[in-house]
Protein backbone atom coordinates (compact mmCIF):
# COMPACT_ATOMS: atom_id res chain seq x y z
CA UNK A 1 0.00 0.00 0.00
CA UNK A 2 1.64 3.21 -1.06
CA UNK A 3 -0.45 5.64 0.89
CA UNK A 4 1.52 8.17 2.84
CA UNK A 5 -1.15 10.74 2.15
CA UNK A 6 -3.40 11.76 5.02
CA UNK A 7 -7.04 12.75 4.91
CA UNK A 8 -7.23 13.41 8.62
CA UNK A 9 -7.35 17.14 9.17
CA UNK A 10 -8.10 18.07 12.78
CA UNK A 11 -9.56 17.13 16.10
CA UNK A 12 -12.98 18.64 16.51
CA UNK A 13 -15.21 19.18 19.56
CA UNK A 14 -18.33 17.09 19.37
CA UNK A 15 -20.28 19.78 21.26
CA UNK A 16 -19.27 23.12 19.77
CA UNK A 17 -17.31 22.11 16.68
CA UNK A 18 -14.15 23.98 17.74
CA UNK A 19 -11.08 22.69 15.90
CA UNK A 20 -7.90 21.53 17.62
CA UNK A 21 -4.51 20.42 16.34
CA UNK A 22 -3.90 16.67 16.02
CA UNK A 23 -2.11 16.23 19.35
CA UNK A 24 -2.50 13.96 22.37
CA UNK A 25 -5.51 15.77 23.75
CA UNK A 26 -9.11 14.77 24.19
CA UNK A 27 -11.40 17.45 25.67
CA UNK A 28 -12.56 20.81 24.44
CA UNK A 29 -11.25 23.78 26.40
CA UNK A 30 -14.58 25.59 26.23
CA UNK A 31 -17.22 23.05 27.13
CA UNK A 32 -15.25 19.90 28.01
CA UNK A 33 -16.86 18.12 25.08
CA UNK A 34 -14.98 15.10 23.71
CA UNK A 35 -12.73 15.66 20.71
CA UNK A 36 -13.18 13.56 17.63
CA UNK A 37 -11.15 13.05 14.46
CA UNK A 38 -12.27 15.15 11.52
CA UNK A 39 -11.50 14.37 7.89
CA UNK A 40 -11.50 15.95 4.50
CA UNK A 41 -14.36 13.84 3.17
CA UNK A 42 -14.37 15.38 -0.30
CA UNK A 43 -10.75 14.37 -0.71
CA UNK A 44 -11.47 10.87 0.59
CA UNK A 45 -14.39 10.52 -1.76
CA UNK A 46 -12.12 11.29 -4.68
CA UNK A 47 -9.40 8.94 -3.48
CA UNK A 48 -11.30 5.85 -2.38
CA UNK A 49 -13.34 3.26 -4.24
CA UNK A 50 -14.65 -0.26 -3.76
CA UNK A 51 -12.12 -1.55 -6.27
CA UNK A 52 -9.24 0.10 -4.49
CA UNK A 53 -10.33 -1.33 -1.17
CA UNK A 54 -10.83 -4.77 -2.69
CA UNK A 55 -7.29 -4.78 -4.01
CA UNK A 56 -5.80 -4.38 -0.54
CA UNK A 57 -4.91 -7.00 2.10
CA UNK A 58 -7.77 -8.35 4.21
CA UNK A 59 -7.16 -6.26 7.32
CA UNK A 60 -8.79 -3.25 8.95
CA UNK A 61 -6.23 -1.01 7.25
CA UNK A 62 -7.96 -1.37 3.90
CA UNK A 63 -10.05 1.60 5.10
CA UNK A 64 -6.91 3.57 5.89
CA UNK A 65 -8.21 6.84 4.42
CA UNK A 66 -10.90 6.95 7.12
CA UNK A 67 -8.51 6.44 10.04
CA UNK A 68 -6.76 9.20 12.04
CA UNK A 69 -3.09 8.64 11.33
CA UNK A 70 -0.64 10.65 9.23
CA UNK A 71 1.68 8.05 7.75
CA UNK A 72 1.62 4.32 7.16
CA UNK A 73 0.20 2.10 9.89
CA UNK A 74 3.02 0.64 11.99
CA UNK A 75 1.24 -1.31 14.72
CA UNK A 76 -1.28 -4.12 14.33
CA UNK A 77 -0.82 -4.60 10.60
CA UNK A 78 -2.76 -7.89 10.60
CA UNK A 79 -5.72 -6.75 12.68
CA UNK A 80 -9.30 -7.04 11.51
CA UNK A 81 -11.31 -8.43 8.64
CA UNK A 82 -12.86 -11.02 10.88
CA UNK A 83 -15.57 -13.33 9.53
CA UNK A 84 -19.13 -12.19 9.01
CA UNK A 85 -20.94 -15.45 9.57
CA UNK A 86 -24.35 -16.12 8.06
CA UNK A 87 -26.02 -17.70 11.06
CA UNK A 88 -28.82 -19.86 9.76
CA UNK A 89 -29.21 -22.16 12.71
CA UNK A 90 -29.22 -19.30 15.17
CA UNK A 91 -31.62 -17.39 12.92
CA UNK A 92 -34.03 -20.30 13.15
CA UNK A 93 -33.63 -20.44 16.91
CA UNK A 94 -34.36 -16.73 17.23
CA UNK A 95 -37.09 -16.72 14.61
CA UNK A 96 -35.55 -14.21 12.21
CA UNK A 97 -35.11 -14.56 8.48
CA UNK A 98 -31.61 -13.29 7.90
CA UNK A 99 -29.00 -13.12 10.62
CA UNK A 100 -25.25 -12.45 10.58
CA UNK A 101 -22.63 -12.56 13.30
CA UNK A 102 -19.64 -10.26 13.07
CA UNK A 103 -17.13 -12.48 14.80
CA UNK A 104 -14.46 -10.40 16.49
CA UNK A 105 -13.98 -13.24 18.97
CA UNK A 106 -11.31 -14.30 16.48
CA UNK A 107 -9.76 -10.90 15.90
CA UNK A 108 -5.97 -10.88 15.72
CA UNK A 109 -3.94 -10.96 17.92
CA UNK A 110 -5.84 -10.89 21.24
CA UNK A 111 -9.29 -12.16 20.30
CA UNK A 112 -11.43 -9.09 20.82
CA UNK A 113 -12.45 -6.00 18.86
CA UNK A 114 -10.04 -4.00 21.02
CA UNK A 115 -7.19 -4.91 18.67
CA UNK A 116 -8.78 -2.50 16.21
CA UNK A 117 -8.71 0.49 18.53
CA UNK A 118 -5.26 -0.34 19.82
CA UNK A 119 -3.79 -0.67 16.33
CA UNK A 120 -4.84 2.90 15.61
CA UNK A 121 -3.95 4.28 19.06
CA UNK A 122 -0.44 2.81 19.07
CA UNK A 123 0.28 3.76 15.48
CA UNK A 124 -0.68 7.30 16.43
CA UNK A 125 1.24 7.08 19.74
CA UNK A 126 4.37 6.41 17.72
CA UNK A 127 3.64 9.26 15.35
CA UNK A 128 3.32 11.55 18.37
CA UNK A 129 6.58 10.26 19.84
CA UNK A 130 5.42 8.27 22.88
CA UNK A 131 7.69 5.47 24.12
CA UNK A 132 5.49 4.34 26.98
CA UNK A 133 1.86 3.47 26.41
CA UNK A 134 -0.79 2.57 28.95
CA UNK A 135 -4.50 2.08 29.49
CA UNK A 136 -7.29 1.70 32.00
CA UNK A 137 -9.14 -1.45 31.13
CA UNK A 138 -11.87 -3.90 32.02
CA UNK A 139 -9.63 -6.61 30.52
CA UNK A 140 -9.73 -6.83 26.76
CA UNK A 141 -8.12 -3.48 26.13
CA UNK A 142 -5.32 -4.41 28.54
CA UNK A 143 -4.71 -7.65 26.61
CA UNK A 144 -4.52 -5.80 23.35
CA UNK A 145 -2.30 -2.98 24.56
CA UNK A 146 0.05 -5.52 26.13
CA UNK A 147 0.35 -7.66 23.01
CA UNK A 148 0.52 -4.92 20.42
CA UNK A 149 2.96 -2.84 22.47
CA UNK A 150 5.18 -5.89 22.86
CA UNK A 151 5.17 -6.51 19.12
CA UNK A 152 5.92 -2.85 18.46
CA UNK A 153 8.71 -2.70 21.00
CA UNK A 154 6.92 -0.15 23.17
CA UNK A 155 6.96 -0.22 26.95
CA UNK A 156 3.49 -0.61 28.45
CA UNK A 157 1.48 -0.39 31.65
CA UNK A 158 -2.06 -1.68 32.01
CA UNK A 159 -4.33 -0.86 34.93
CA UNK A 160 -7.30 -3.11 35.62
CA UNK A 161 -9.74 -3.84 38.44
CA UNK A 162 -7.86 -6.41 40.56
CA UNK A 163 -10.70 -8.96 40.46
CA UNK A 164 -10.93 -9.60 36.70
CA UNK A 165 -11.22 -13.09 35.23
CA UNK A 166 -8.00 -15.09 35.42
CA UNK A 167 -7.86 -15.51 31.68
CA UNK A 168 -7.96 -11.77 31.16
CA UNK A 169 -5.17 -11.17 33.65
CA UNK A 170 -3.01 -13.94 32.25
CA UNK A 171 -3.52 -12.64 28.74
CA UNK A 172 -1.90 -9.39 29.77
CA UNK A 173 0.87 -10.78 31.95
CA UNK A 174 2.28 -13.10 29.34
CA UNK A 175 3.38 -10.24 27.09
CA UNK A 176 5.65 -8.78 29.75
CA UNK A 177 3.60 -5.65 30.28
CA UNK A 178 3.35 -4.17 33.76
CA UNK A 179 -0.06 -5.18 35.05
CA UNK A 180 -1.41 -3.21 37.97
CA UNK A 181 -4.57 -4.42 39.69
CA UNK A 182 -6.52 -1.63 41.37
CA UNK A 183 -8.66 -2.39 44.39
CA UNK A 184 -11.88 -0.89 43.17
CA UNK A 185 -14.36 -0.94 40.31
CA UNK A 186 -13.41 0.21 36.83
CA UNK A 187 -14.44 3.80 37.39
CA UNK A 188 -11.79 4.17 40.06
CA UNK A 189 -9.19 2.57 37.80
CA UNK A 190 -10.19 5.15 35.28
CA UNK A 191 -9.88 8.03 37.72
CA UNK A 192 -6.41 6.97 38.76
CA UNK A 193 -5.30 6.59 35.15
CA UNK A 194 -6.19 10.14 34.31
CA UNK A 195 -4.15 11.40 37.20
CA UNK A 196 -1.26 9.27 36.01
CA UNK A 197 -1.67 10.41 32.41
CA UNK A 198 -1.47 14.02 33.53
CA UNK A 199 1.55 13.42 35.72
CA UNK A 200 3.71 10.97 33.76
CA UNK A 201 3.11 12.06 30.19
CA UNK A 202 2.52 8.54 28.89
CA UNK A 203 0.34 7.76 25.92
CA UNK A 204 -2.84 6.50 27.53
CA UNK A 205 -4.78 4.94 24.74
CA UNK A 206 -8.13 5.73 26.31
CA UNK A 207 -7.29 9.04 27.94
CA UNK A 208 -5.10 11.43 25.97
CA UNK A 209 -5.07 9.25 22.83
CA UNK A 210 -8.79 8.64 23.03
CA UNK A 211 -9.83 10.48 19.84
CA UNK A 212 -7.51 8.20 17.84
CA UNK A 213 -8.28 5.03 19.74
CA UNK A 214 -12.04 5.40 19.36
CA UNK A 215 -11.90 5.73 15.57
CA UNK A 216 -10.48 2.22 15.26
CA UNK A 217 -13.91 0.80 16.09
CA UNK A 218 -15.29 2.16 12.82
CA UNK A 219 -13.49 -0.56 10.91
CA UNK A 220 -15.90 -3.11 12.36
CA UNK A 221 -18.70 -1.18 10.68
CA UNK A 222 -16.87 -0.80 7.35
CA UNK A 223 -16.17 -4.51 7.27
CA UNK A 224 -19.81 -5.39 7.92
CA UNK A 225 -20.82 -3.23 4.97
CA UNK A 226 -18.22 -4.69 2.63
CA UNK A 227 -18.96 -8.26 3.72
CA UNK A 228 -22.65 -7.69 3.01
CA UNK A 229 -21.58 -6.86 -0.53
CA UNK A 230 -21.72 -3.13 0.10
CA UNK A 231 -24.99 -2.85 1.93
CA UNK A 232 -25.77 -1.35 5.31
CA UNK A 233 -27.67 -3.83 7.49
CA UNK A 234 -31.10 -2.66 8.61
CA UNK A 235 -30.47 -3.71 12.22
CA UNK A 236 -27.20 -3.92 14.16
CA UNK A 237 -26.95 -5.05 17.79
CA UNK A 238 -23.86 -3.87 19.69
CA UNK A 239 -22.56 -4.34 23.24
CA UNK A 240 -21.98 -1.19 25.28
CA UNK A 241 -19.49 -0.44 28.03
CA UNK A 242 -18.56 3.21 27.54
CA UNK A 243 -20.82 3.29 24.48
CA UNK A 244 -17.97 4.20 22.14
CA UNK A 245 -18.14 1.15 19.87
CA UNK A 246 -21.84 1.70 19.26
CA UNK A 247 -21.41 5.32 18.25
CA UNK A 248 -18.47 4.45 15.98
CA UNK A 249 -20.32 1.71 14.09
CA UNK A 250 -23.05 4.24 13.38
CA UNK A 251 -20.39 6.73 12.29
CA UNK A 252 -18.89 4.12 9.96
CA UNK A 253 -22.24 3.53 8.28
CA UNK A 254 -22.68 7.27 7.79
CA UNK A 255 -19.16 7.81 6.52
CA UNK A 256 -19.41 4.95 4.04
CA UNK A 257 -22.36 6.77 2.49
CA UNK A 258 -20.61 10.13 2.66
CA UNK A 259 -17.55 8.96 0.73
CA UNK A 260 -19.63 7.12 -1.85
CA UNK A 261 -18.86 3.51 -0.96
CA UNK A 262 -22.45 2.54 -0.38
CA UNK A 263 -25.94 3.80 -1.07
CA UNK A 264 -27.80 5.36 1.82
CA UNK A 265 -30.41 3.10 3.37
CA UNK A 266 -32.19 3.27 6.70
CA UNK A 267 -30.46 1.50 9.58
CA UNK A 268 -31.21 1.07 13.25
CA UNK A 269 -28.63 0.72 15.98
CA UNK A 270 -29.38 -1.28 19.15
CA UNK A 271 -27.34 -1.36 22.36
CA UNK A 272 -26.82 -4.22 24.81
CA UNK A 273 -25.77 -4.12 28.46
CA UNK A 274 -25.81 -6.41 31.46
CA UNK A 275 -28.65 -5.89 33.94
CA UNK A 276 -26.06 -5.50 36.70
CA UNK A 277 -24.49 -2.49 34.99
CA UNK A 278 -26.99 -0.88 32.66
CA UNK A 279 -26.64 2.91 32.87
CA UNK A 280 -27.03 3.46 29.12
CA UNK A 281 -29.89 1.01 28.65
CA UNK A 282 -31.71 2.47 31.66
CA UNK A 283 -31.43 5.98 30.22
CA UNK A 284 -32.56 4.86 26.76
CA UNK A 285 -35.56 3.06 28.20
CA UNK A 286 -36.46 6.04 30.40
CA UNK A 287 -36.37 8.28 27.34
CA UNK A 288 -33.59 10.53 28.64
CA UNK A 289 -30.03 11.11 27.56
CA UNK A 290 -28.88 11.91 31.08
CA UNK A 291 -26.94 8.92 32.31
CA UNK A 292 -27.38 7.96 35.94
CA UNK A 293 -24.13 6.38 37.17
CA UNK A 294 -24.12 2.82 38.51
CA UNK A 295 -21.80 3.03 41.52
CA UNK A 296 -21.30 -0.69 42.09
CA UNK A 297 -21.59 -2.78 38.94
CA UNK A 298 -22.50 -6.39 39.64
CA UNK A 299 -22.43 -8.71 36.64
CA UNK A 300 -20.44 -11.58 35.18
CA UNK A 301 -19.97 -9.41 32.08
CA UNK A 302 -16.99 -7.63 33.60
CA UNK A 303 -15.74 -6.30 30.29
CA UNK A 304 -18.92 -4.20 30.04
CA UNK A 305 -18.98 -3.09 33.69
CA UNK A 306 -18.51 0.65 33.41
CA UNK A 307 -20.72 2.58 35.81
CA UNK A 308 -20.09 6.04 34.34
CA UNK A 309 -19.94 5.51 30.58
CA UNK A 310 -18.24 8.44 28.88
CA UNK A 311 -20.08 8.03 25.59
CA UNK A 312 -23.43 7.06 27.12
CA UNK A 313 -25.02 10.32 26.12
CA UNK A 314 -23.94 9.91 22.50
CA UNK A 315 -24.93 6.25 22.42
CA UNK A 316 -28.46 7.04 23.60
CA UNK A 317 -28.72 9.68 20.91
CA UNK A 318 -27.53 7.35 18.15
CA UNK A 319 -30.19 4.82 19.18
CA UNK A 320 -32.86 7.49 19.26
CA UNK A 321 -31.89 9.07 15.94
CA UNK A 322 -31.74 5.77 14.11
CA UNK A 323 -34.95 4.42 15.65
CA UNK A 324 -33.12 1.71 17.58
CA UNK A 325 -33.39 0.72 21.23
CA UNK A 326 -31.46 -0.80 24.13
CA UNK A 327 -31.94 -3.90 26.24
CA UNK A 328 -30.21 -5.57 29.17
CA UNK A 329 -29.62 -9.17 30.22
CA UNK A 330 -29.31 -10.94 33.56
CA UNK A 331 -26.36 -13.18 34.37
CA UNK A 332 -28.50 -16.29 33.79
CA UNK A 333 -29.61 -14.97 30.40
CA UNK A 334 -26.01 -14.18 29.48
CA UNK A 335 -24.93 -17.75 30.18
CA UNK A 336 -27.86 -19.26 28.27
CA UNK A 337 -27.00 -17.05 25.32
CA UNK A 338 -23.33 -18.04 25.38
CA UNK A 339 -24.45 -21.68 25.17
CA UNK A 340 -27.02 -21.04 22.48
CA UNK A 341 -24.44 -19.29 20.31
CA UNK A 342 -21.93 -22.08 20.80
CA UNK A 343 -24.44 -24.85 20.08
CA UNK A 344 -26.05 -23.30 17.06
CA UNK A 345 -23.06 -21.64 15.37
CA UNK A 346 -19.93 -23.11 16.92
CA UNK A 347 -18.79 -19.77 18.24
CA UNK A 348 -17.61 -19.43 21.82
CA UNK A 349 -18.09 -15.83 22.88
CA UNK A 350 -17.13 -14.15 26.09
CA UNK A 351 -19.73 -12.81 28.51
CA UNK A 352 -20.11 -9.63 26.45
CA UNK A 353 -21.19 -11.79 23.50
CA UNK A 354 -23.74 -13.47 25.74
CA UNK A 355 -25.05 -10.04 26.67
CA UNK A 356 -25.37 -9.02 23.03
CA UNK A 357 -27.15 -12.17 21.90
CA UNK A 358 -29.47 -12.24 24.93
CA UNK A 359 -30.41 -8.62 24.27
CA UNK A 360 -30.88 -9.24 20.54
CA UNK A 361 -33.28 -12.02 21.41
CA UNK A 362 -35.26 -9.74 23.71
CA UNK A 363 -35.44 -7.04 21.07
CA UNK A 364 -36.68 -9.57 18.53
CA UNK A 365 -39.21 -11.13 20.88
CA UNK A 366 -40.60 -7.74 21.82
CA UNK A 367 -40.99 -6.76 18.17
CA UNK A 368 -38.43 -3.94 18.30
CA UNK A 369 -36.37 -5.82 15.71
CA UNK A 370 -38.60 -7.15 12.93
CA UNK A 371 -38.23 -10.84 12.06
CA UNK A 372 -38.08 -10.37 8.30
CA UNK A 373 -35.21 -7.92 7.90
CA UNK A 374 -31.44 -8.29 7.90
CA UNK A 375 -29.92 -8.36 11.39
CA UNK A 376 -26.24 -8.23 12.39
CA UNK A 377 -25.12 -9.12 15.92
CA UNK A 378 -21.62 -8.01 16.93
CA UNK A 379 -19.67 -10.63 18.87
CA UNK A 380 -16.73 -8.71 20.27
CA UNK A 381 -14.74 -11.03 22.54
CA UNK A 382 -13.64 -14.63 22.99
CA UNK A 383 -15.11 -17.10 25.47
CA UNK A 384 -11.78 -18.63 26.42
CA UNK A 385 -10.97 -15.45 28.28
CA UNK A 386 -14.01 -15.61 30.55
CA UNK A 387 -14.14 -19.36 30.98
CA UNK A 388 -14.98 -19.22 34.68
CA UNK A 389 -18.33 -17.67 33.87
CA UNK A 390 -19.33 -21.18 32.79
CA UNK A 391 -18.03 -22.93 35.91
CA UNK A 392 -20.65 -25.45 36.92
CA UNK A 393 -22.83 -24.52 33.95
CA UNK A 394 -21.86 -27.28 31.54
CA UNK A 395 -22.24 -31.04 31.69
CA UNK A 396 -18.98 -32.65 32.76
CA UNK A 397 -17.37 -34.88 30.15
CA UNK A 398 -18.32 -38.54 30.24
CA UNK A 399 -15.59 -40.72 31.66
CA UNK A 400 -15.22 -44.39 30.80
CA UNK A 401 -12.67 -47.14 30.85
CA UNK A 402 -10.85 -47.74 27.56
CA UNK A 403 -13.39 -50.38 26.64
CA UNK A 404 -15.58 -50.68 23.58
CA UNK A 405 -18.39 -52.03 25.72
CA UNK A 406 -18.44 -48.98 27.90
CA UNK A 407 -18.27 -46.77 24.86
CA UNK A 408 -21.25 -48.48 23.28
CA UNK A 409 -23.18 -48.16 26.50
CA UNK A 410 -22.53 -44.47 26.44
CA UNK A 411 -23.64 -44.07 22.86
CA UNK A 412 -26.91 -45.79 23.60
CA UNK A 413 -27.53 -43.26 26.27
CA UNK A 414 -26.75 -40.36 23.95
CA UNK A 415 -29.17 -41.51 21.33
CA UNK A 416 -32.38 -39.99 22.69
CA UNK A 417 -30.64 -36.62 22.89
CA UNK A 418 -29.60 -36.89 19.30
CA UNK A 419 -33.11 -37.60 18.13
CA UNK A 420 -34.36 -34.73 20.23
CA UNK A 421 -32.13 -32.19 18.58
CA UNK A 422 -34.21 -31.50 15.52
CA UNK A 423 -37.42 -31.12 17.46
CA UNK A 424 -36.08 -28.71 19.96
CA UNK A 425 -34.73 -26.39 17.29
CA UNK A 426 -38.21 -26.32 15.81
CA UNK A 427 -39.57 -25.58 19.22
CA UNK A 428 -37.23 -22.65 19.52
CA UNK A 429 -38.78 -21.15 16.49
CA UNK A 430 -42.37 -21.86 17.32
CA UNK A 431 -42.11 -20.49 20.80
CA UNK A 432 -39.58 -17.77 20.04
CA UNK A 433 -37.94 -19.12 23.11
CA UNK A 434 -34.45 -20.09 22.03
CA UNK A 435 -32.38 -18.94 24.91
CA UNK A 436 -34.25 -20.69 27.65
CA UNK A 437 -34.21 -24.00 25.82
CA UNK A 438 -30.78 -25.24 26.76
CA UNK A 439 -29.55 -28.62 25.64
CA UNK A 440 -29.82 -29.88 29.19
CA UNK A 441 -33.46 -28.90 29.33
CA UNK A 442 -33.90 -30.32 25.90
CA UNK A 443 -32.45 -33.64 26.86
CA UNK A 444 -34.67 -34.01 29.86
CA UNK A 445 -37.77 -32.96 27.97
CA UNK A 446 -37.00 -35.50 25.32
CA UNK A 447 -36.28 -38.19 27.84
CA UNK A 448 -39.80 -38.06 29.07
CA UNK A 449 -41.19 -39.01 25.74
CA UNK A 450 -38.75 -41.87 25.51
CA UNK A 451 -40.39 -43.55 28.46
CA UNK A 452 -38.38 -46.36 29.92
CA UNK A 453 -35.12 -45.19 28.46
CA UNK A 454 -35.22 -42.03 30.45
CA UNK A 455 -33.29 -43.52 33.33
CA UNK A 456 -30.29 -44.03 31.15
CA UNK A 457 -29.84 -40.67 29.59
CA UNK A 458 -27.44 -38.99 31.94
CA UNK A 459 -24.27 -39.63 29.98
CA UNK A 460 -21.91 -38.83 32.80
CA UNK A 461 -23.41 -40.49 35.79
CA UNK A 462 -24.52 -43.35 33.66
CA UNK A 463 -21.13 -43.99 32.21
CA UNK A 464 -19.37 -44.06 35.50
CA UNK A 465 -21.81 -45.70 37.76
CA UNK A 466 -23.71 -48.13 35.58
CA UNK A 467 -21.35 -49.38 32.97
CA UNK A 468 -23.51 -52.35 32.13
CA UNK A 469 -26.57 -50.58 30.81
CA UNK A 470 -25.80 -50.62 27.15
CA UNK A 471 -25.85 -54.34 26.98
CA UNK A 472 -29.55 -54.51 27.32
CA UNK A 473 -29.96 -53.02 23.89
CA UNK A 474 -26.73 -53.25 22.10
CA UNK A 475 -25.45 -56.62 23.24
CA UNK A 476 -21.71 -56.56 22.99
CA UNK A 477 -21.82 -53.21 21.33
CA UNK A 478 -22.20 -53.96 17.66
CA UNK A 479 -25.52 -52.18 17.48
CA UNK A 480 -25.82 -49.80 14.62
CA UNK A 481 -26.57 -46.64 16.56
Amino acid sequence: MAMAETFFSNLKCRECGALYPKKATHVCEFDFGPLEADYDYAKIRAAISREKIRSRPLTMWRYRELLPIDGEPTVGLQVGFTPLVKAERLARALGVRELYLKNDAVNYPTLSFKDRVVAVALTRARELGFNIVACASTGNLANSVAANAAAAGLESYVLIPYDLERGKVLNSLVYGTKVIGIEGPYDQVNRLCSEIAGKYGWGFVNVNLRPYYAEGSKTLGFEIIEQLDWRIPAHTVIPMASGSLLTKIAKAYQEAVKVGLVNASPFRIYGAQARGCNPITAAQQAGTDLIRPVPKPDTIAKSLAIGTPADGYYAVNVMRQTGGAAADATDAEIIEAIKLLAETEGIFAETAGGVTLACAKKLIDSGRIPRDERVVICITGNGLKTAEALDGQLTEPARIKPSLREFDALIVKHEPQRRGEKNSLMEYRQRGNGILETPCLRASAVNKSYGNRSKHTDPVAGANQQPGHGQRRGGDGRGAD
Binding site: S137, N206, L290
Partner: protein, 82 residues
Protein backbone atom coordinates in the same frame (compact mmCIF):
# COMPACT_ATOMS: atom_id res chain seq x y z
CA UNK B 1 -1.19 30.58 48.46
CA UNK B 2 -1.26 29.11 45.03
CA UNK B 3 -4.56 29.23 43.26
CA UNK B 4 -5.45 26.04 41.54
CA UNK B 5 -7.90 25.28 38.80
CA UNK B 6 -9.90 22.13 38.28
CA UNK B 7 -12.40 21.01 35.68
CA UNK B 8 -15.19 18.74 36.81
CA UNK B 9 -18.33 17.00 35.77
CA UNK B 10 -20.93 17.29 38.53
CA UNK B 11 -23.68 14.72 38.49
CA UNK B 12 -26.73 15.70 40.52
CA UNK B 13 -29.09 12.86 41.29
CA UNK B 14 -31.68 12.07 43.91
CA UNK B 15 -33.17 14.51 46.45
CA UNK B 16 -30.47 17.18 45.99
CA UNK B 17 -30.92 17.39 42.23
CA UNK B 18 -33.03 20.51 42.46
CA UNK B 19 -31.19 22.28 45.31
CA UNK B 20 -29.23 25.43 44.46
CA UNK B 21 -26.00 23.73 45.45
CA UNK B 22 -23.63 25.80 43.36
CA UNK B 23 -25.00 28.96 44.91
CA UNK B 24 -24.58 27.51 48.40
CA UNK B 25 -21.08 26.38 47.52
CA UNK B 26 -20.07 29.86 46.48
CA UNK B 27 -21.42 31.27 49.78
CA UNK B 28 -19.58 28.69 51.90
CA UNK B 29 -16.25 28.59 50.07
CA UNK B 30 -14.08 31.11 48.33
CA UNK B 31 -14.33 29.41 44.96
CA UNK B 32 -14.60 31.06 41.58
CA UNK B 33 -16.72 28.95 39.28
CA UNK B 34 -17.38 28.96 35.59
CA UNK B 35 -20.15 26.76 34.26
CA UNK B 36 -19.27 25.47 30.81
CA UNK B 37 -22.13 23.17 30.07
CA UNK B 38 -25.26 21.94 31.82
CA UNK B 39 -28.12 19.55 31.16
CA UNK B 40 -30.95 19.26 33.61
CA UNK B 41 -34.10 17.17 33.94
CA UNK B 42 -36.55 17.11 36.83
CA UNK B 43 -34.68 14.27 38.54
CA UNK B 44 -31.13 14.71 37.42
CA UNK B 45 -28.53 17.22 36.33
CA UNK B 46 -25.13 17.13 34.71
CA UNK B 47 -22.83 20.14 34.76
CA UNK B 48 -19.39 20.79 33.37
CA UNK B 49 -17.74 23.38 35.59
CA UNK B 50 -14.35 24.96 36.23
CA UNK B 51 -13.41 25.83 39.82
CA UNK B 52 -10.59 28.08 40.89
CA UNK B 53 -9.51 28.37 44.51
CA UNK B 54 -6.71 27.68 46.97
CA UNK B 55 -5.89 24.00 46.93
CA UNK B 56 -7.30 23.28 50.41
CA UNK B 57 -10.42 25.30 49.76
CA UNK B 58 -10.98 23.49 46.48
CA UNK B 59 -10.62 20.13 48.16
CA UNK B 60 -12.99 21.12 50.95
CA UNK B 61 -15.53 22.43 48.46
CA UNK B 62 -15.49 19.18 46.51
CA UNK B 63 -15.76 17.13 49.68
CA UNK B 64 -18.77 19.22 50.67
CA UNK B 65 -20.44 18.68 47.29
CA UNK B 66 -19.95 14.95 47.72
CA UNK B 67 -21.63 15.05 51.15
CA UNK B 68 -24.57 16.68 49.36
CA UNK B 69 -24.92 13.64 47.13
CA UNK B 70 -23.22 15.14 44.07
CA UNK B 71 -20.93 12.85 42.08
CA UNK B 72 -17.81 14.82 41.24
CA UNK B 73 -15.65 13.57 38.41
CA UNK B 74 -12.60 15.42 37.11
CA UNK B 75 -13.03 16.09 33.39
CA UNK B 76 -9.74 14.48 32.47
CA UNK B 77 -11.03 11.30 34.04
CA UNK B 78 -13.88 11.00 31.64
CA UNK B 79 -12.25 8.31 29.57
CA UNK B 80 -13.71 5.67 27.44
CA UNK B 81 -12.99 2.11 28.05
CA UNK B 82 -12.07 -0.47 28.39
Amino acid sequence: MAKCKGRYWLNFTGPTATEPLIYQLSKKFDVVFNIRQATISDTMGLMGVEFEADREVLQAAIAWLETQGVKVKPVELNTIEG
